[in-house]
Symmetry: D2
Subunit: 356 residues, 4 copies
């Protein structure tokens, strides 16, 4: 058990890749909050494959049905449940993986964990498809956060060996292929196409910045913003690293370089650099909260790979058919925003308890 | 609130750097487990400053008193509470930081969060000193894990720009300065001494490997091992990044390189490489669980830094006196092990529920 | 927020009386458990109105659709989500209660809590209808408990002033109108009919016994079986009291009368009386766990009642139309079982963690 | 595990009757709240035996040491830990109960649960002594609640067969023996003395009322005030029943009698009766929240009782020596207040999250 997250905004994500439906229940949304469903749809569309060259050919409408929790377009205080029916499924494609686990996937670990009772079709509950309900919850949180002046922007920092150049800004985040340097973006897309042509796949790094956060969000120790956001972001399949501010690079700096000097700007306390990524002692300091997540290359590749048969323990070379993204990084961008938004909104609700 | 962690083994860490005592309550320890207090002390001693050149001169005996939860050296099923009295405190050293926040510390964010009521002496509840009770809890978990064949080993992967060379092994972890290549270790210590001489500080990277884990630990999505361990590790002050297996480097690999082929060895399913760090879909696959954490340089440096006065908002250059580690990385090594051990033991208890 | 329950088996109940659907997500069901859906339906049918004289005329098919969490009739380890579409709703019946709260209902408190944004139709999320998803979750738990030799039986102990006579047994629980003394049962039904004829309603007391529990379930203090079961049972609308074993009557006994002597029977430790209701120190002792819950009379009555208009604060006599049960006690019987089953199954999972 | 309680104010109670110390950690206290320790002591003194005829002769100073969480008498935002050293212990008195369980106590169930590793001296973690840290936490909450205009009053509603007469009022709660009718109070004390003289014990019922609660506290379903308060109150040893408002008596009323009509008084919505005990749909309606708890007679009695030897399973008559209260009801009064205060303060913090 732990498809559930959040202390103040509590959500449970349900569904398997090929079950009747996938969805999410969200308990703890304050009443009286308008949810713009058109806008939520546009957010979900950023995650949908949409026929782009670097995405799966599977058609996923991903139009959530809101079953409850709202009245006349406004939250009513009761838990919200949203679901998406699974329609375009081809379970047959996945039949062999029940006994011959795909390298890099959860087939083997799910088989061990659930004693062979797991629903392996399409990756079951471990499918990237389950990020759709994550994006429903996150997309709702993004709207609520924006109402308090908090916005999330993100970009593709790298794909394979190709890195973006320049600094993340709101204008970047609005691009269809969100990079600062479009030439580098073109190189990234070319790299994806090349990998695909070779039956291979690529990973990458995504960078997010949260603007407009008030200082004081986050709790000491285990409730720090780094812990909260990392716990949410690592729930996205394929994420293998998370860093905040200067992150791993900070480990090579000296204290005199890494420390962010305090200053006052327009009557507001700021820091003149932001190596801490807007977080000190786990608590927001009012500067942009910046994090990066490493996404491993899509494990489903067209090339032959070495596996074994779980029944006979004999070697079993396999070739993954089906329809797969040669690089999920572009589609993972809104997922990062969604995961971060959920964690941040939870921290925002926690913060409210401090004020009489 | 969130100095509490764990679903199945539930702990709350309490205390401020200069309060009467610091400590931890642990609820959920199974009854009948012997705790070797001598061995626990040796584990705590690895964290203690101990007069080494790279550590603070503050004398901290760090001898925990176990108030309850044990009988005749064995857990009795009731919550365990352990505390360490704070004795060698010099609160006067910290008086100015109540209004002039130290760059890189939680002084400012705590001030905002707690409306000026925080206990700022010695960093209060945000002090690195609070990792002592974390190590009590973690040291106990390490003993329980070892009883099930699970051991944690770790090393200093880098300090400042100096990187260790070679692969982590048990023999490395037993060294006083745990690096594979002792020449690199000597260079690291020289770098620390040089930084100290210049009134500056260094950070670094710590690598841990968990050996002997059964496959099947961890839960889907938010309960994955990455989420659990990252949430615990980010509770350690100064950690700014966490990665598993190939981590950020995986983002630059191709799927065909990153995927770990399955094979059978002595009747056991293994992978022939371990880029995934022993975790697939958030669940252990039986291979060593490997993670690295980036530790920023100690923010307390002897050089003058730019800050502001929170009362007047005027610029206020400050120089941090007191006694500080020029590099906390060596002392942070057992803290990483402790944080990981807590998260892993919690997952182990969770796993037991699956078996009738 | 708190339509969620359970630490080890975690469920969230969603829906409003007149929303598109109501349902429940259950996270934490062990994989490999067969769920007999026919039998689950028969359990749900015990709660359904079914055209009996003492129940509402509203037709509720209450056939749950299991969206996910199972494969081939067996749990697969992923969260289970079940929903029931709301079809036979007449929201118009409830329009006035948005501003003129019905005495004894949650109309007023929901209005305060949700600032007027609540979905008041049919009582919204506070409707007794939400016990249907509770019964889905509880009915599943009952099947899992039975597999471990644990069964729940219950009876109507009283309706209005009419009390059942004799001791609860399995044969009682199987009756359509579950009382030991059928003559008293007939008197209860006559009392319901009389109250209905007068536009009034009745309450009653339900008694449950859980047979076959192993000793050792439950945790100290806040995790005691009384706390767990009471927290679940009080979630059922209209429950105003819960007692265990001799309960309130124990308060009038002497220790020498109330204490249950220990004895050995067929090699098993038993008590020769069961005033403690199978619970000592919050932990099961292996004897039947017995509790009783007081259900207040249905607040919806046909008679004119005094209320006020929340907008004008003027007096506003009201008469509750719609279709209502003159006595919900018979339909509440399976709800008690469901609530108790959920709490007990959670305790059972907790207990498993104690065994290496 | 579950000596922990609370979602927003999270506490863990630790200690055994004869361990070095007992105490409580409280995580989530807002910063900036003054705690009057003198007043807290007076509250704890109400629970202490104090040499009265109806209480144990064991001398318990019960003077808590606040280890952390405060600065200059004011909460600082960090977890508070308070402990009471155990000094006047006579473990030898309890040696036999490790294998011959006392009827009515947790000796047997703890033995099963903890496999014989429990600390049975003095009842271990199941001792009534553990209500002292409960009262520390509750006494702090009472001060915080009072600051928001919320007060708790209580009385002894009955002891054995002797019932108090009249309605609970603030003046009642202030008496040393809190009953409305002092003649009945004298009869109660006489009944206790008589039971004691016969080596026996008595139970009773305690009634609490919470005044000044704002409407809107409590959450739907499992988060209702009844669920929260019952879960806390059942943590007090010997409590076997909890009811709200008319409680079990409501089950015998008709809807037309039980429903509380709404009215307006001084511009405020009120009900003209209070059968619901101030709670509708789990949520406070602004009227006094009234509950009663049944306390079973002290299980430790001087008479010979039937037990068995857990090692040999042979019958083993036993006589409980040691020093025991012939009736714990008077000392349990502040414990009820403490438990309720904790639950209510948690609900108050939850409520704050609803307001932007």
């Amino acid at each position: 058990m732990s498809s559930s997250f959040g202390k103040n905004l509590h959500l449970t994500i349900f569904g398997q890749s090929h079950s009747s439906a996938i969805g999410v229940t969200i308990d703890g949304l304050p009443a009286g909050e308008e949810i713009d469903l058109e806008r939520l749809q546009r957010f979900l569309d950023r995650r949908a494959p949409g026929g782009r060259a670097y995405a799966t050919a599977r058609q996923e409408a991903d139009r959530p049905e809101i079953l409850c929790g709202m009245k006349d377009g406004v939250t009513c205080g009761a838990p919200l449940c949203a679901l998406i029916r699974n329609t375009d499924t081809r379970s047959g494609d996945y039949a062999p993986f029940a006994r011959i686990p795909r390298p890099g996937h959860a087939d083997y670990t799910a088989w061990v964990k659930y004693g062979g009772y797991q629903d392996s079709a399409g990756g079951g509950h471990f499918s990237g498809r389950l990020t759709a309900p994550l994006c429903i919850a996150g997309g709702i949180c993004l709207q609520l956060l924006e109402r308090e002046g908090i916005t999330l922007i993100s970009r593709i920092a790298s794909i394979g060996p190709v890195e973006d150049r320049g600094a993340l800004a709101s204008s970047t985040a609005e691009k269809e292929f969100p990079v600062v340097d479009d030439a580098q973006g073109a190189a990234m897309q070319a790299a994806i196409a090349a990998a695909k042509a070779e039956g291979d796949s690529l990973g990458g790094v995504i960078e997010c910045a949260v603007m407009g956060l008030p200082p004081g969000l986050g709790e000491p120790m285990f409730g720090g913003m780094e812990s909260l956001i990392a716990a949410a972001v690592f729930a996205i399949p394929a994420v293998k690293g998370v860093e905040f501010g200067a992150g791993f690079a900070a480990a090579a700096l000296r204290g005199s370089e890494d420390n962010d000097p305090f200053a006052v700007e327009e009557g507001r306390v700021v820091t003149t650099t932001n190596h801490c990524g807007g977080i000190l002692g786990g608590i927001t300091n009012g500067m942009p909260l910046v994090f990066r997540a490493a996404v491993k290359p899509t494990p489903s590749i067209a090339r032959e790979q070495q596996s074994i048969c779980l029944e006979t323990l004999a070697p079993a070379p396999l070739r993954v058919g089906g329809r797969h993204d040669p690089c999920i990084v572009p589609r993972a961008v809104p997922c990062m925003e969604a995961a971060a938004a959920i964690a941040i909104y939870d921290a925002l609700l926690e913060r409210r308890k401090e004020k009489r």
